[in-house]
Amino acid sequence: MNAIDHHWQRFTLKQKLSRYAVYLVLVMAFVQSIQSVEVIPEFLLDAPEQMADMFSRMWPMDFAYYPVTVHDAMIETLNIATLGTLITLIFAIPLALMNASNIVSSTWCHWISKFFLVSSRSVNSLVWALLFVSIFGPGVIAGVLAIAFRSIGFVGKLLGEALEEVNMGSIEALKATGASWLSILLKGYWPQVLPAFFSIVLFRWDINVRESAVLGLVGAGGIGVVLDDSMNLFQWDRVAVSLLAIFIIVILAEILVVNVRKRLI
């Protein structure tokens, strides 16, 4: 019965080797990084104490500061996020149309739209903000444009994918009636991607609310400016108020988006 010992293998040798190669590279990169990164171990050990110290200075919060500056700055932050999201659409919708292979068949168009979409996503919103601050000077314009430009890639890519997933049968039926290109877009594609469109835009708006809260750190307006000021003056009780305000707005935005999306779908 037990003359031969059986063997079983989960993967082929090649699969096994390439997996091990990935693990090996990861471990090596990790060890190499740990060894060469400039981290002072004492600082790490000290961190909990320092954090506790920082948080103790935040309490009690200076709530009186809220109506003075925080409130207006919060409104400004929301405006940056919202207006930025709206402006994104001006660029993102045409790029999404160009990127959807079932709408535009020219490879050239695909490459061009891809280039813009990828560049938009590769540059962080904070870096976009730095760029726009050096163009327009410090202020909300830089913030709005940073949000808008960073979002183009996100909205354009997802919207393009949604467009590619529409049911082509009904589009062909419309084409067969001799409808013009624009009316095919409006009566064929648009109704089908409508839920996806709103859900993408809302999702991005939610992200933008978070992002617009930090743009002020490089001078692009909003609550970040207030946060930066009080931090530079070591007014931790005021920092805490700003942080709390951000926290609440972010949570509210998320709740809003989740609920609206539930109704949409």
């Binding site: 019965m1 037990n2 010992d5 059986h6 063997h7 079983w8 293998q9 989960r10």
Partner: protein, 261 residues
């Protein structure tokens, strides 16, 4: 068949005493079940949908906790077992599921080998360090259920009948002292269903253990079972040889008679 049986002395495989189960308080599903299993071979449990057959089987290996009563198995009360002891008892109870419940992304042979997990430490499991003997046994079992050439296919690429064979091999791999099968043939065509029943019968003979099988097909049940248990409304209403079941009994179990024809 009866020769081998009579040569075995009557042993205490499983004893269920006054077993009760309520999912919601005050609404009992099992209302005091008494079953004593002393002989190897297939024991078929029949009864209408919703009467608590699955609940009974799942109480036996404690996938659900009974509300009241005793399940005596291997000189211990399964109802009281906890932690390591529970796992030790569980590994001696092999379970076959209606929907096979294979781990779909593992290969066939790996699925069979998972039957040994109850015997391995977490550390051995982490390293997938199955003993050579286990691996050999797994291949022998796979051979016995006729799936040798499928050993390194992924489980989700098999047909229903093939999956159920793997499910049985996995249960037998546990080296169980009893097999439980919850409607093992309900999702299969009639011919495959017979083959699966034959497999269960064969293993219960080879291993000299009882197999409790929930089954809806009364004909199929009486063909293979040594003993039939009829359940209705959470109580046992018939317990005896398959030949003893009359239309009267079936009426009592399932209610109505138009379906008897």
């Amino acid at each position: 068949m009866s020769v081998t049986q009579s040569s075995v002395e009557h042993s205490n495989f499983l004893e269920i005493r006054n077993l009760k189960k309520e999912y919601t308080a005050g609404n009992p599903i099992l209302k005091g079940i008494d079953i004593h299993i002393t002989e190897p071979g297939i024991v078929a449990i029949i009864g209408p949908s919703g009467t608590g057959k699955s609940t009974l089987l799942r109480c036996i290996n404690r996938l659900i906790d009974p509300t009241e009563g005793k399940i005596l198995f291997d000189n211990a009360d399964l109802c009281l077992a906890k932690g390591a002891q529970l796992r030790k008892l569980r590994r001696q109870v092999g379970m076959v599921f209606q929907e096979y419940n294979l781990v779909e992304r593992l290969t066939v042979i790996e699925n069979v080998l998972t039957g040994r997990l109850g015997y391995m430490s977490a550390w051995q499991a982490w390293r997938r360090k199955f003993s050579q003997q286990d691996i050999n046994t797994a291949f022998e079992l796979l051979d016995a259920v006729g799936l040798t050439e499928h050993a390194s296919k992924r489980a989700d690429s098999l047909s229903g009948g093939q999956r159920q064979r793997v499910g049985i091999a996995r249960a037998v791999m546990q080296n169980p002292r009893i097999l439980l099968a919850d409607e093992p043939t309900s999702s299969l065509d009639p011919k495959t269903a017979v083959e699966i029943m034959e497999l269960l019968e064969r293993f219960s003979q080879e291993k000299n253990i009882p197999a409790l099988v929930n089954i809806h097909d009364v004909k199929l049940a009486s063909r293979f079972a040594k003993r039939m248990i009829g359940m209705s409304n959470g109580v046992v209403v018939y317990d005896g040889p398959p030949e003893g079941i009359t239309d009267e009994h079936l009426k009592q179990i399932y209610g109505g008679e138009s379906w008897l024809a």
